[in-house]
């Protein structure tokens, strides 16, 4: 059972349309404080739409989204961000013509960089320090992903929404990102993470929600799902062992 006080973010019966198509069909989802919640599902199941709806980038047609006791369903994206929710989109959302420093600076509070937070980012992603004054567009895919996550944590946030951070990265880069996510997990950062790499999902996730055709069809412990091959087959159409 999840106590109400444990829940940082709750979606109740959220419907989202994109153009004429209904993508989310009543999503119910809870993200607990200090936990990493994995959102898994097949391609086109509605994972990205869920994150974008939480962020206010697409409007929920029906249903409620509550963040730390405050309804954010109808809130504009900048206000949602200012509540302490950081979003790392699938395409990373890097400003390619701005430098690494400028990309990070934009995510800071008006006072600018807090040294402690900046040190934490550069410690997790030393490559960013080496590329500090380079245009972000010139970074490799992995470095861009580091920058995107670094930008999300350069200020203290209450919740991170991260969409497929390891997609298209080399195995070495995936390991580095997984280590960074584990570091965030150890710091009790609340994260809602969409991830197709089951190895990373198993290593990082505390809780899991599986979405299919715009509905949450399973919630529970990540460890339990990782241990139950039959359940993986039923929910995701493949097992983690074969996906690795």
């Amino acid at each position: 059972m999840i106590g109400a006080g444990d829940t940082l973010l709750r979606l109740d019966g959220v419907y989202t349309d994109i153009g004429r198509y209904r993508i989310l069909h009543g999503v119910d989802l809870a993200v607990r404080r200090g936990r990493v919640t994995m959102l898994l599902g097949r391609n086109g199941a509605g994972k990205t739409t869920t994150l974008r709806t939480i962020m206010g980038l697409w409007r929920a047609r029906r249903g409620d989204i509550v963040f730390d006791g405050q309804a954010i369903t109808a809130m504009q994206t900048p206000r949602i961000a200012r509540l302490g929710i950081a979003y790392v989109p699938e395409n990373m959302g890097i400003f390619g013509r701005l430098t690494v420093r400028e990309n990070l600076f934009l995510a800071t509070a008006p006072r600018g960089f807090a040294q402690q937070d900046l040190d934490r980012v550069l410690e997790s992603f030393p490559a960013l320090k080496l590329k500090w004054d380079c245009a972000a567009g010139s970074l490799s895919g992995g470095q861009k992903q580091m920058l995107a996550i670094g930008r999300a944590i350069v200020e203290q946030r209450r919740l991170l929404l991260v969409d497929e951070p390891t997609k298209g990265l080399s195995p070495a880069m995936v390991d580095q990102l997984a280590a960074a996510l584990l570091q965030l997990k150890s710091e009790q950062t609340s994260i809602l993470l969409v991830e197709q790499n089951f190895q990373v999902a198993e290593a990082v996730g505390d809780d899991v929600a599986v979405i299919d055709e715009g509905r949450i069809i399973h919630t529970g412990d990540m460890a339990m799902l990782a241990a139950d091959e039959a359940l993986q087959h039923r929910l995701l159409g493949l097992s983690m062992a074969t996906a690795l």
Binding site: M55, L57, Q76, T77, P78, A81, R82, Y87, P89, G93, F95, G96, R97, L98, E102, N103, F105, L106, A107, P110, G137, R151
Partner: protein, 330 residues
């Protein structure tokens, strides 16, 4: 390795274009007129940049192609006429200081009036048509017509002389070439504004937000910035710059008519396309190239003068189909 070298060359080439054009023109024109024409081209370029930079930012940030931009040029020029009339004593005085103060007052008034009108225009008209390109085109062309007719109602249909201040009427001689004093001043003012704009865009948080917003509007909102508010500011700044450009262009021509904005429109759109829509640096390079080409071709082959900038645009688009410095993600 060779690919890196090619990439670097490709990236730097747009910045080398204007110097190359200047150097290439020297043997064809001869040193005397070349210096005069080059300065005239640069002056024209920076004035066009003032007008075009606002439009490129407005388009880059909000996908709004504002065909009424020329109206703000016209308003700026006419407000300068009205401001300089009571200051006629200062402009006629043989004192450079008084002349420059009068120019500065007119410049500020032109920018303020066009900026304020831009604020009203954005709230009443542009805000209703975000995300609807066809309606944007129709409504901004309508806005252009309305503002130009209002200008005729207020200032009359006849062109009004806008004489240059006394100290800026002559020419300065450098060896065999002569350069109009006003052009030197206009070049300094234009470059100062361009540098200030560059500093604002690169050294301030708001400037970074504008540049980032041009690249990826959605992400800048997801970082907590209200892009609508930023856009109102950019729209006002863009129209204020157009007003400044109108005032300086009016003095450059020494006469102001209700079509002064329209006369720049084609050139401004050529500059936007050459530079890459949404790119301020590209806009600057494009403006300088258009200014130089106009002056050089006017001298070398007057019959080609009208089409020279269209030809320039066509050549650049054949080389770089999205303009010299396109904004990558839109």
């Amino acid at each position: 390795m060779s690919e890196n070298w090619r990439d670097r060359l490709q990236r730097c080439a747009p910045y080398a274009l204007a110097p190359l054009v200047i150097l290439a023109a020297l043997p064809a024109i001869g040193p005397g007129p070349w210096a005069t024409l080059t300065l005239a081209g640069l002056t024209m370029g920076v004035m066009l940049f003032l007008v075009a930079s606002g439009l490129t930012l407005i388009f880059g940030l909000m996908d709004v192609l504002n065909f009424a931009h020329a109206a703000f040029v016209t308003v700026g020029a006419y407000v300068a006429v009205s401001v300089l009339r009571p200051l006629a004593g200062w402009t006629a005085a043989q004192s450079l200081t008084l002349n420059l103060i009068a120019l500065l007052v007119a410049l500020i008034a032109a920018a303020a009036a066009s900026g304020a009108l831009g604020f009203v225009f954005e709230r009443l008209i542009i805000r209703q048509v975000y995300g609807a390109p066809l309606r944007q085109i129709l409504i901004t062309i309508g806005g252009l017509t309305v503002i130009e007719q209002l200008v005729i109602v207020i200032w009359g249909p006849q062109a009004i002389p806008l004489p240059r201040p006394a100290s800026l009427r002559g020419s300065v001689f450098f060896g065999s070439s002569s350069i109009e004093t006003y052009r030197l001043v206009a070049l300094c003012v234009g470059l100062s504004v361009a540098v200030a704009m560059q500093l604002f865009l690169t050294r301030t948080r708001l400037g970074l937000v504008v540049r980032a917003g041009v690249e990826n509007r959605e992400m800048i909102q997801a970082l907590g910035y209200n892009i609508r508010r930023v856009f109102v500011g950019v729209f006002m700044a863009g129209t204020a710059l157009a007003g400044m450009g109108g005032m300086m262009w009016g003095q450059y021509q020494a006469v102001v008519g209700s079509q002064i904005g329209d006369s720049m429109t084609i050139l401004v759109f050529i500059i936007l396309i050459i530079g890459g829509l949404g790119s301020v640096s590209g806009c600057f390079i494009g403006a300088i190239l258009v200014g130089l080409t106009s002056n050089y071709v006017d001298f070398l082959a007057p019959k080609l003068a009208l089409g020279s900038n269209v030809l320039l645009m066509a050549l650049i688009l054949l080389w770089q189909p999205r303009g010299l410095l396109p904004i990558s993600e839109q």
